[in-house]
């Protein structure tokens, strides 16, 4: 650590899914807020459907 060379820095092992910096220009990019909002709405939607059906 004395040189600022972090001992863990070289060993960053990613999770099961790996993401790289490179991205294609054609790729569809989604804002993370959109995904969270969709997840919430989807959950609430299913709860409402369940409540209505019973």
């Amino acid at each position: 650590m004395s040189s600022g060379q972090n001992s863990g820095g070289l060993m960053s092992s990613a999770g099961l899914v790996r993401y790289f910096d490179a991205e294609d220009r054609n790729a569809i990019r989604i804002d993370p807020k959109t995904i969270v909002a969709f997840g919430l709405l989807f959950g609430v939607g299913v709860i409402v459907l369940n409540a209505v059906a019973i």
């Binding site: 990613a14 099961l16 899914v17 989604i30």
Partner: protein
């Protein structure tokens, strides 16, 4: 024209979460991680629309649930199962070098990311469809089918659509945590599930509806409210250690915790010094658990997939011969698939206490198969993991070279560094992988608090440890913005 050119238009257009522009402050990172965690817990509590109430079949994942996250009958029924299975396929293809993708090339990186997503979607269909349409794991509501006029087939399609959306949501939530938060989403969901079970196993009391936890039971034993035999008789001792007292489970849990934390600190350190700056020294640690515990989840998932195959065969093949598999009430009780099933608890093998009526020789054979599978599988997947995540001798040699460091006493040359690395990394990886496999089997055999599997516990402890290291690193960078450049962020 190879497969790369053919698949390129599809793979490059897979939707992905936007990357943050510039540095994300540590507090915001924690915010995103916590937010995703809350969303995850919320979604595990949303019951599928169109599910027959009350009459749910057994959990499709069974004992594997604790490492595959999600929860039975909810939108997140699939959990991280599809991600793990897709990862197995990628690891095997990548490890055998069949893909021909160079993960240092930006073009190939894009393809790799796309392929990863596509495989997860394929796996969502491959595990989701048999789950809904084969067997009785998610029974559709007949009343709903009639009132909507779509029949049970239509309701089943509705169920599948919901769990598929849930599976894709998990994938994107993982991406958000990886890009905007701390650690990885998959790790976060595993910790969340296992910790929930652990806390329940320690503190839950009977009036909550589940089993009584460790502490309430002991309060009961000490005050005399829970009746156990005298500790001086064999029956009383068995109650204390194996039964309600759960002392053995507590010992195993604490032991696994300490072994993993200890093993994280066992390492071979290769000294480094800077080529141009005198006095600048560093060390490259080759940890005992070099490949981390994550490859373990791949081995377990492989076993889980074999068991699903058995269950599906059992449902569809009425005249299945007994040697393939015998089931009673959805539980495997004999045949080939019984031998392939991992030991999940004491009930699976402690014949001498009357927990199981199976033949001791057959049990010993099954334990031997489980051990072989986990130890060899652990080592093999650890090697693949190291190779595919750029932790192998060649990749680390290149990293050390490009950071301007060298091993003192050796020529400054990537090939020379690689030679030195080759003396340590492969051996340490194999030993670490095999050790983790052995630990997982032993923990399962002895039982753990809250019924979390040995693999689940191993994963949780080591992921939490990694998370702690990462948070410490983040905080260091917050305090010294200069550090950011050194970490190449």
């Amino acid at each position: 024209m190879g497969w790369k050119e053919a698949a390129e238009p599809v793979l490059t257009r897979m939707p992905s979460v936007a990357r943050p522009e510039g540095h994300v402050p540590f507090k915001r990172k924690i915010g995103w991680t916590a937010g995703i965690l809350v969303l995850y817990f919320f979604l595990t509590n949303v019951v599928l629309f169109g599910l027959q109430t009350g009459g749910t079949g057994g959990d499709f994942y069974g004992q594997f649930r604790s490492i595959l996250a999600g929860s039975q009958g909810s939108i997140l029924q699939l959990g991280i199962g599809p991600i793990v299975t897709a990862s197995i396929v990628l690891q095997l293809l990548g490890g055998a070098d069949l893909l021909g993708l160079d993960t240092d090339d930006p073009r190939d990186q894009v393809l790799y990311q796309g392929l990863q997503k596509l495989l997860v979607v394929v796996m969502i269909c491959l595990t989701g469809l048999p789950m809904v349409f084969g067997g009785n794991f998610l029974p559709p509501s007949q009343a709903l089918g009639q009132s909507l006029g779509i029949g049970t087939g239509g309701v089943r399609a509705l169920l599948f659509a919901q769990i598929a959306v849930g599976g894709i949501l998990i994938l994107f939530m993982d991406e958000i945590v990886s890009k905007w938060g701390v650690g990885s989403g998959v790790g976060l969901f595993i910790i969340a599930g296992v910790s929930q079970q652990l806390v329940a196993g320690l503190f839950s009391w009977e009036s909550l509806g589940g089993q009584s936890g460790f502490f309430p039971t002991w309060i009961g034993i000490l005050t005399g409210a829970v009746d156990i035999g005298s500790p001086l008789t064999p029956g009383g001792l068995s109650d204390l250690f194996l039964g309600q007292g759960q002392i053995l489970a507590l010992i195993t849990t604490v032991l696994i915790f300490s072994i993993v934390v200890y093993a994280e600190s066992v390492r071979v350190e290769i000294p480094l010094s800077h080529a141009n700056v005198k006095g600048a020294r560093g060390r490259f640690p080759v940890k005992l658990i070099y490949a981390s515990v994550l490859p373990m989840i791949l081995v377990r998932a492989l076993q889980a997939n074999l068991q699903f195959l058995g269950q599906i065969l059992n449902n569809w093949w009425a005249a299945m011969p007994g040697w393939v598999g015998q089931y009673s009430q959805g539980q495997i009780t004999g045949g080939l698939f019984w031998y392939l099933a991992p030991i999940q608890s004491r009930q699976d093998w402690m014949w001498f206490l009357g927990f199981t009526s199976q033949d001791p020789a057959a049990i010993a054979f099954r334990v031997a198969i489980d051990l072989t599978f986990m130890i060899i599988g652990g080592a093999v997947f650890a090697i693949f993991w190291v190779e595919t995540t750029g932790m192998g001798p060649e990749a680390t040699a290149r990293q050390i070279q490009s950071s301007g460091m060298q091993i003192p006493g050796f020529r400054r040359n990537p090939q020379v560094i690689e030679k030195v690395m080759e003396r340590y990394i492969p051996q340490v990886t194999v030993i670490g992988g095999a050790l983790v496999g052995l630990l997982a089997v032993l923990a399962n055999m002895l039982g753990t608090i809250g019924g979390v599997s040995g693999t689940g516990l191993l994963l949780t402890v080591s992921i939490t440890y990694k998370l702690y290291e990462e948070i410490a690193e983040e905080q260091l960078m917050e305090m010294h913005p200069m550090m950011r450049e050194m970490f190449n962020n």
